[in-house]
């Protein structure tokens, strides 16, 4: 901090005490503002961030999650080494850990095999896998799947970008016109207090009468205008719901969209999800959200046709996702994302839908790493 004070962010917000009778109210001190506002701003203007890219190709063995060594482009918490275990980025210690991180990777394979599946995945501590896009190769072209997920990490937990394919031989990644990349950004504390959506911060005036909570007239409650803003920034609405536990199938039919069921919530700090209406998230704090869905279905060898994904807001407004030919001789499944930044009002709903035109229904995947999922992260008023 500017004064030299040491902070372990994100700051746990201070609750000001109201002056009443013989109880002294908390004074508005520079030192308190530094420990609250300055620490909060310092953290949220520059949250933990890593971005790395591959500078050498990696040979990816079949049916194996292979971590990709990365050279760092930015690493503001020194979670990565360019000389040892270079595929790993380790999370920092925080006051609220294990915190939530949004990770995005993409992985170009030097392959043009349209019969097999190629996958980008994230892996925590060398064991817990979160699969991303899983698609067929394209004749005459390389193939680049993308992975995105919300991962909860304790201090020193490490995250890796992994490649996987099922050609029965080795396939290399590329580092020519495109290269594997991984980006990780802190997005939410592991614990916190939920609050109302903050208003646009007030303009302070000479007539302000500072209080803790009381309002009316010229009174300005610090717990609303400072504490709750910090609570919000530390612990914004996030949700991650999954198909784990589902037995759903996606019927065949060109033009037929089916909402995916999500019986399990990994995180849902503002109660956007209900097990009774498990195909959707219902917004209860307005704002712009980053929304990411991954439609995941099992495939039999000999699969045919295309698969497509989309997001649907309030049952009517479409946000197109992705459409792809299926791998014709793979049993690894198909996984297609749909995502974007979407402005959502209170009570708006958001669903992930899938369409496919194979000869029969396809079963939604429910594995620990290869399930369908729907993620929402609040980003702006």
């Amino acid at each position: 901090m500017p004064s030299g004070a040491v902070a372990l962010p994100p700051v746990i917000p201070h609750t000001w005490i109201e002056q009443a009778g013989v109880v002294y109210g908390d004074p508005l001190r520079a030192k308190t503002l530094e420990s609250q506002v300055a620490v909060a701003v310092a953290w949220h203007r520059q949250r933990p961030l890593f971005q790395g890219e591959a500078t050498v190709t990696t040979s990816v063995a079949s049916a194996t999650y292979v971590p990709i060594p990365l050279a760092e482009l930015v690493d503001n918490v020194s979670g990565h080494s360019d000389s040892a275990n270079t595929s790993r980025w380790a999370a920092p210690g925080t006051s609220t850990g294990p915190d939530w991180y949004l990770a995005v990777g993409q992985l170009p394979f030097a392959t043009s095999d349209p019969t097999k599946s190629f996958l980008a995945a994230l892996r925590v501590n060398g064991s817990t896998v979160f699969e991303g896009m899983k698609v067929a190769g394209a004749t005459g072209h390389n193939t680049t799947p993308l992975v995105c997920d919300l991962a909860q990490l304790n201090a020193n937990d490490y995250l890796e970008l992994c490649a996987r394919q099922d050609t029965a031989g080795a396939v290399s990644t590329t580092v020519s016109s495109k290269s594997a990349t991984l980006g990780i950004r802190w997005v939410c504390a592991g614990s916190g207090t939920t609050v109302a959506t903050p208003a646009t911060p007030r303009t302070w005036t000479a007539a302000d009468a500072i209080t803790a909570d009381s309002t009316g007239g010229a009174k300005v409650p610090l717990n609303l205008h400072i504490r709750d803003v910090i609570r919000w920034l530390n612990y914004p609405p996030i949700a991650r719901i999954t198909s784990v536990g589902s037995s759903q199938t996606i019927p065949t039919g060109a033009g037929t969209w089916t909402s995916i069921q999500f019986p399990t919530a990994t995180v849902d700090n503002y109660t956007m999800w209900s097990s009774g209406t498990n195909t959707k998230l219902t917004i209860n704090r307005a704002g712009v959200y980053f929304v990411y869905g991954l439609a995941a279905v099992a495939e039999a060898s000999g699969a045919a046709g295309y698969r497509a994904s989309r997001l649907l807001v309030n049952g009517t407004t479409v946000y197109g996702g992705m459409s792809s030919q299926v791998a014709t001789a793979s049993t690894a499944g198909t996984q297609l994302p749909a995502f974007g930044h979407i402005r959502l009002a209170v009570n708006d709903t958001i669903e992930l839908q899938m369409q496919q035109n194979d000869t029969g229904a396809l079963t939604v995947k429910t594995g620990t790493g290869d399930h369908a999922r729907l993620i929402a992260v609040w980003r702006s008023l």
């Binding site: 506002v37 004749t139 072209h141 803003v229």
Partner: protein, 272 residues
């Protein structure tokens, strides 16, 4: 630049006197919180028809901005008293210069609009004006052919460009689409470009490439879309664009204009 800038770490000094408190609190509390709660955000789509050429990189010109909180994008308008002429001879795909009937009032740095309306309109920032010949960067050739006599007009902005109003890292989400009957092996790739280059140094031709995969081979009823997601660092004034490229196996020549499946981009400030 009028947009609020990313906050520094506030420095609170004990002894601030009463009359100075409002200004101090506004500078050290209101402005940082305002920026962090509502950082620069741009969300736009290409709603109208847009013609394409296979195997060519094309930065998507946005025509509808759902929101642009920092004012980094502007719809193009004709510059009064600016260059206004017609092509003297047709241009072809890949052209990096054009001969006009007259290049009067065109200057280096101007934005030239080729054709006046419709799906064939293209925009280029001029890097040269010599006699009746105007030219632009060889890294951004024309991707469509323009007939002899087509209008060439100076306009206020290139609508494919979002100009960064506050430095920092930006999370960019984009979706590109094409419409028509596909073909085996057809791939559709979005890229993000910062100043027409790749943030990572690995350049797919017009920026940092996103996902690459085989889109459906069927008719236009089989929607063809690829999304991309990147984080890029930008300085004040840097330009962010989304490139659309698709391979040559099909006969597709246009983006999709189906509601929800149009080309789209969102640009969100995520930190310094």
């Amino acid at each position: 630049v009028t947009a609020l800038q990313p906050p520094g770490v506030p420095l609170f000094v004990a002894g601030t006197t009463g009359p100075n408190m409002p200004a101090t609190m506004n500078a050290l509390v209101r402005d940082p919180f305002t920026f962090l709660l509502q950082p620069p955000l741009f969300r736009a789509t290409r709603a109208a028809a847009l013609n394409l050429t296979e195997g060519q990189h094309q930065y998507v010109p946005w025509d509808t901005a759902a929101e642009d909180t920092a004012g980094g994008w502007a719809a193009p308008s004709v510059v009064g008293g600016g260059g206004s002429s017609t092509l003297s001879g047709a241009t072809s795909v890949g052209a990096t210069s054009a001969t006009l009937v007259s290049a009067a009032n065109f200057a280096i740095g101007d934005v030239a609009r080729f054709e006046s309306s419709g799906a064939n309109v293209e925009y280029r920032v001029l890097t040269g004006v010599a006699g009746a010949v105007i030219s632009w960067s060889s890294s951004i050739p024309l991707t469509l052919a323009h007939a002899n006599g087509s209008a060439v007009t100076e306009v206020s902005s290139d609508p494919s460009r979002y100009t960064v109003q506050a430095p920092g890292w930006y999370d960019v989400t984009a979706r590109v689409s094409i419409s028509g009957t596909g073909a085996a092996g057809l791939v559709l790739i979005p890229s993000v470009a910062v100043n027409q280059a790749s943030h990572t140094g690995f350049n797919g031709g017009a920026g940092w490439e996103g996902p690459e995969h085989s889109v459906p081979t069927g008719t236009s009823g089989q929607l063809k879309m690829t999304p991309g997601l990147w984080s890029v660092y930008c300085n004040l004034g840097d330009v962010i664009q989304i490139d659309l490229w698709f391979s040559t196996e099909s006969a597709i020549t246009a983006v999709d204009t189906t509601a929800g499946w149009v080309c789209a981009a969102e640009i969100y400030w995520s930190g310094v």
